[in-house]
């Protein structure tokens, strides 16, 4: 009965103990399996080598046992690992049996290394693990067994070293390309980049070394000297999954989406507009409410809620050029690289800044890196203009005593209010500023004004019949905190929030930014050039928190009755939105 919302966890959330355990387990297993696979190449093993193999098996098996207590494991896989690790030291006395057990262990190590990966990622994991294990195997055997006690074979171990080194280098290069990191400063400024460099550079160095000493009669020396490089490369490869992937390099003027880690908690961060001067730092509600942000050496301000917007927001004053912002959660501090550039950004009215940031977030999630030059509140778009006209005509048909109009001073709000008044006048619908029992409320302001208007309407409606002809919102006010401030509200939309494209965006924004709800501006930015083609005819939609059982979330006498936000892709948190009119023509 566990239906909690699983947060999008990332590599950064992996704890150090689990990582160390993984490295010990994988490295010891690779040495053990490599030795076992190549065991048939030599005659009787010296006693000290048997001890080494026994120790490797014990370390591998014990690591697996400890893992079972640290990580929730599949019992079967754990048992198989333990049995193989314990069996190989015994089976080395019977080379053929030992080889097959070792092959099985290598296969298991490949799966353990590549858990959750597929395709090319899985292929390069396989190459790296198998190559490294073979190298380790030759190293162990050649160290302990003199060359004259090796059995005759078709293997040419000198050239094999060159081949393995080259394969590992190629696998590392593929990993580098697959990582998405360009050849930029992240390669040497971040741990992830350094690990990638190690993964590529060490096998290259080992290959060069092997090439130089290819003609050397003591081929074991190649393996012994190269083993350190291969082992470090293998550890870097195994650790890569636990190292936070660095975000894309900040681009001046492009709102920055990053993951910060403070006190072990992953904190999605949105910085907008990333220009010199005043910027907004936004955190999703799931990041908590004990967050602050600022610039190093400057003022650190607490992130607070803003009316009509989800999550919390902090103002920061960015200097020109490259720099950092400081994020503080509780008593823990972390930093995020930023680049404000030298140019000034667009002029953004404070009240409309969250909507502007949310709109930009849609484009960033879609992978576009457009410089922010304008905000939704800067102008009334043709599609919203048409939707408002249809809405007012629809309301005129409902015949309320009047429409109570709420606007604001933004260019969009002013144009929308004028359009509503003109259309109302044309259709014989009275417009007034105050509400009454038989009025309809129509809000065309920005988010802050919309939230205030809805909250006041909700209070009035709780006390006496008010706006009985309904609460109507301009399309851009389709945002969780605004529509959920009232029992039910209606909007004219040109898309159905329940259809696949809209749900896909809602899921994408939730996944990318800590479960944040979708917004119209974000949807349009996410669609990019598709936005126009996605516009359909106007229909009125109604939003409500349908539940079938009105319960207070923390109702004390029913502790089990807490609401679950387990409906991914919903445009209205804990609610639903459905069309309530035919297409308005």
């Amino acid at each position: 009965m566990d239906h909690h919302v699983a947060p999008a966890t990332g590599s950064s959330g992996v704890d150090t103990a689990a990582l160390l355990l993984r490295l010990v387990l994988l490295l010891s297993s690779a040495f053990l399996a490599g030795t076992g696979v190549l065991r048939p190449l030599v005659d009787r093993l010296p006693r000290r080598l048997l001890i080494v193999v026994g120790v490797l098996g014990a370390v591998s098996a014990v690591s697996a046992v400890v893992s079972a207590f640290v990580v929730d494991l599949t019992a079967l896989a754990t048992a198989v690992h333990i049995v193989l690790a314990a069996a190989i030291p015994v089976l080395v006395r019977w080379p053929s049996w030992g080889r097959w057990a070792s092959i099985a262990l290598i296969a298991l190590v490949v799966l353990e290394t590549s858990l959750g990966r597929s395709g090319v990622d899985f292929a390069v994991d396989t190459v790296y693990v198998v190559g490294a294990a073979l190298w380790f195997g030759v190293t162990v055997l050649s160290t302990a067994v003199p060359a004259d006690r090796w059995r005759s074979t078709a293997f040419r171990l000198g050239p094999l070293a060159l081949t393995i080194g080259a394969l590992l280098a190629v696998a590392g290069a593929v990993q580098l390309v697959q990582s998405g990191l360009g050849l930029d400063r992240r390669l040497y400024e971040t741990l992830f980049g350094v690990a990638l460099l190690v993964i590529v550079a060490l096998p290259v160095a080992v290959s060069v070394f092997a090439g130089i000493f290819l003609g050397d009669k003591d081929w074991g020396r190649i393996y012994r000297f190269g083993a350190a490089g291969i082992a470090v490369g293998f550890l870097a490869w195994s650790a890569l999954a636990a190292i936070p992937r660095p975000p894309a390099l900040p681009v001046p003027g492009v709102p920055l989406l990053a993951d910060a880690v403070a006190g072990g908690a992953r904190i999605p961060v949105l910085l907008s507009p990333q220009r010199p001067g005043r910027n907004l730092v936004h955190f999703p509600a799931s990041a908590g409410d004990d967050l602050s942000a600022g610039v190093p050496g400057g003022l650190i301000t607490k992130a607070v809620a803003r009316p009509g917007a989800e999550g919390s927001w902090a103002e920061v004053e960015l200097p020109p050029g490259r720099g950092e912002i400081v994020i503080v959660k509780g008593g823990n501090e972390t930093r995020v690289d930023v680049d404000a550039g030298e140019d000034t950004g667009p002029s953004i009215v404070d009240a409309d800044a969250p909507e502007c940031a949310s709109a930009a977030l849609g484009g960033v999630i879609a992978g576009r890196r457009d410089v922010l030059t304008a905000c939704p509140a800067d102008a009334l778009s043709p599609e919203d203009s048409g939707a408002l006209v249809k809405l007012v005509e629809f309301l005129a048909g409902r015949k309320p005593s009047a429409v109570t109009l709420i606007g604001d001073e933004s260019p969009r709000g002013v144009a929308a209010a004028k359009l509503v008044r003109d259309t109302a006048a044309r259709t014989g619908l009275a417009v007034r500023d105050d509400g009454g029992p038989d009025t309809a409320l129509l809000v065309v302001s920005g988010w802050a004004g919309g939230y205030t208007a809805m909250s006041r309407a909700a209070e009035s409606q709780r006390l006496k019949p008010t706006h009985q002809y309904g609460l109507y919102l301009a399309p851009w006010l389709l945002n969780g905190p605004i529509v959920n401030a009232v029992a039910s509200s209606s909007l004219p939309l040109r898309f159905d929030p329940r259809e696949q494209l809209a749900v896909s965006y809602a899921v994408a924004v939730g996944n990318s930014f800590g479960g944040e709800s979708p917004t119209l501006g974000g949807f349009r930015s996410w669609l990019g050039d598709q936005s126009r083609s996605a516009n359909g005819d106007v229909q009125i939609f109604s939003a409500a928190q349908v539940n079938a059982m009105p319960m207070y979330p923390n109702e004390p006498h029913a502790p089990g009755m807490v609401m679950n936000r387990d409906y991914a892709g919903q445009w209205v948190p804990d609610g639903t939105i459905v069309p309530i009119s035919a297409v308005l023509r």
Partner: protein
């Protein structure tokens, strides 16, 4: 240095084997997708689509499990009885969590893999419910609906008869689907009603199918557009909008086309103290019809009002008013089938354990369901309250003002369900209630009281199914005065009222020992296999099916299992130990599973169920 082989042939062979293995590994590595094979390998997909009123295509897509159908074909000519379960997809993230961290050396954090995917489709699961069948308990088809997702599948009709359309409601989508089940295990879509076709109400709940195949449906929420709404009967009601109040009764044809909409509200409004609305209405109303059953021979329809279905948290300090949950039952004159006319509104009375300080758990609160008697000589009906935990009865639904009395308190059945339960029926979270076709028994499912519901020290109660003997009650007469016995003391609430009042005939716990984890809904099996090789309807059901899920958002979630119970002729019941999950082998079909015939969509939420037989197998 080079080693030369003494046995060249053997070395060559080894070389070939090594190269072959390397090549195989390379191919496997590059083609490995990282996903596990679905448990359903061979699935036949058949789609049936219809164009709805909005001009868009809506569909049902069958995913028939070829292996199970082949097994059935081999097992001979025994015709099949199916259990249809209307279920919603649950967020896939919950399923992924369990799959990611599962190998030694893994990091346990999911490595960025635990993300919400696009919601999966909702579906009707077709389960083999034929006793003795080799595929008994197996899901042989999942008929997914589209394109709408997250419908929140809710109720269908209470019982299915030969030739009936299946009407299935979508709580969040405010839609009604109509399915053709004549060729089970395959389904067809006959039509879908969208919210724009039922402007007089919203949030569909339950359905009652008439003898002509049309159906009445309760739409619990108000007219979708706030303000006045004019109905076809000429009346106008002021509503407070989608999912608000007042609701209505909709009549559908067999393709889910709306034939009529009838308001549940009275012109003068309802009791101002007992009926709250948010936003407030000029004329307060309790009209939020949920349960619905009819007696066509008496030209009477009964609906019970449950709650204003919005989850309203407008005040961060105050709890929602308990008076948003309704204490009312409505009777309707359906002499003109297409124009049901509201005849009466009855207020159920509080009982002996009602505490004025806690009106939410008074016996009268949240009349979720009603069920009518069936035999021509009987005119009574029952109603049950979810938070109130009580069963009410009126002997004559045709009366101008039916008089309802409490006849049973869930507390009386608590210890029969599970000996460690207390005998307090408050907040029993009862759902399904249904008379047997022969009016001898009353079947009832209760989820049980959640731990802490009545106070910090409240241990809660185990839920389950109980059967009441109602023979004396329904034969007592048509007047309240004719009925001997009353629930008028706390002792009677815990031990039964005596006289003609119902007594417990049988009971069974579901998830014994776990408070509040019993079933919300159920259905009886009205089919028996005759000697002629066809199924026939019976008035003495031998099985019940129940499902453990309500609405996840309410917090009253269950363990998502569907159980069958064997029902004796004396009313005794026991969980069918043979109806087992095909993957876990445990008793009960677990809808929390990774794989379905339509794909690895993970957990699903089963809300309601019906026993159904294909046309070719029933007489």
């Amino acid at each position: 240095m080079r080693f030369t082989s003494l046995r060249a042939g053997s070395a060559r062979r080894r070389k070939v084997v090594t190269v072959a293995m390397a090549a195989a590994l390379a191919v496997a590595a590059v083609t490995y997708t990282g996903s596990t094979t679905s448990a359903y390998a061979d699935v036949q997909v058949v789609t049936d689509a219809k164009t709805a009123a909005d001009g868009k295509q809506y569909w049902v897509q069958n995913h028939l499990v070829a292996k199970d159908l082949a097994t059935q074909a081999r097992s001979g000519g025994t015709p099949k009885k199916w259990l249809l379960v209307w279920a919603g997809d649950e967020n896939i993230a919950d399923t992924l969590v369990k799959d990611i961290k599962n190998l030694p050396g893994s990091l346990g954090g999911g490595l960025n893999k635990i993300k919400n995917a696009l919601p999966g489709p909702d579906f009707l699961a077709v389960i083999d419910a034929t006793q003795g069948s080799p595929t008994y308990g197996k899901v042989v088809n999942t008929a997914t609906v589209g394109p709408l997702v997250e419908n929140e599948p809710h109720h269908m009709q209470y019982v299915w008869h030969k030739g009936d359309t299946i009407y299935a409601g979508a709580l969040f989508a405010a839609a009604t689907y109509a399915f053709d089940v004549g060729a089970l295990p395959q389904l067809k879509l006959k039509g879908v009603s969208l919210p724009t076709q039922t402007l007089g109400g919203s949030v569909p709940d339950a359905y009652w199918v008439l003898k002509d195949g049309t159906a009445y449906g309760t739409y619990m929420g108000g007219p979708v557009v706030p303000g006045p709404h004019s109905y076809a009967d000429g009346s106008t009601q002021i509503g407070n909008g989608f999912a608000g109040s007042p609701g209505e009764v909709v009549r559908f044809d067999q393709n889910a086309k709306v034939l009529s909409e009838s308001p549940a509200a009275t012109p003068q409004g309802d009791n101002q103290k007992l009926c709250d609305n948010l936003p407030q209405l000029g004329k307060p109303t309790c009209a939020n019809p949920h349960g619905i059953q009819a007696r066509e021979d008496l030209n009477t329809l009964v609906t019970s009002d449950y709650a204003e279905p919005r989850n309203i948290i407008l005040d961060p300090v105050k709890q929602p008013s308990p008076y948003l949950r309704r204490p009312t039952v409505r009777t309707w004159d359906i002499s003109d089938r297409n124009h049901p006319k509201l005849k009466s509104v009855s207020y159920l009375q509080d009982g002996p354990r009602a505490d004025p300080k806690d009106p939410l758990h008074a016996e009268s609160r949240a009349v979720m369901e009603t069920t009518v008697t069936n035999l021509p000589g009987h005119k009574g009906a029952f109603a049950q309250t979810m938070q109130g935990g009580a069963v009410f009865y009126t002997p004559d639904i045709t009366a101008k003002e039916p008089h309802w009395i409490e006849v049973f308190d869930d507390g009386t059945a608590n210890k029969s369900i599970y000996p460690n339960n207390d005998s307090n029926g408050g907040s029993s979270n009862g759902g399904w209630i249904q008379t047997s076709p022969d009016d001898k028994f009353l079947y009832r499912a209760i989820q049980g009281r959640q731990k802490g519901a009545l106070g910090p020290d409240d241990p809660g109660t185990t839920g389950g199914v109980y059967v009441l003997d109602i023979e004396k009650l329904v034969n007592a007469g048509d007047r309240i005065e004719d009925i001997k016995g009353r629930i008028d003391t706390k002792e009677k609430a815990q031990q039964g009222g005596g006289g003609d009042l119902p007594t417990v005939a049988g009971a069974a716990a579901i998830n014994p020992g776990t408070p509040g984890a019993g079933p919300h809904w159920g259905a009886y099996d009205n089919f028996v296999l005759g000697t002629d090789g066809f199924y026939h309807e019976t008035s003495r059901p031998q099985h019940l099916a129940v499902s453990n899920y309500f609405v996840a958002r309410s917090g009253l979630d269950g363990d998502h299992k569907v159980n069958l119970l064997n029902l004796g002729q004396d009313g005794k019941i026991a969980v069918d130990q043979n109806f087992r999950d095909e993957f876990t082998g445990q008793v009960g079909i677990n809808f929390n599973r990774k794989s379905w015939p339509h794909g690895d969509f993970g957990n699903a939420k089963p809300h309601s169920e019906l026993f159904v037989v294909a046309d070719a197998d029933i007489k």
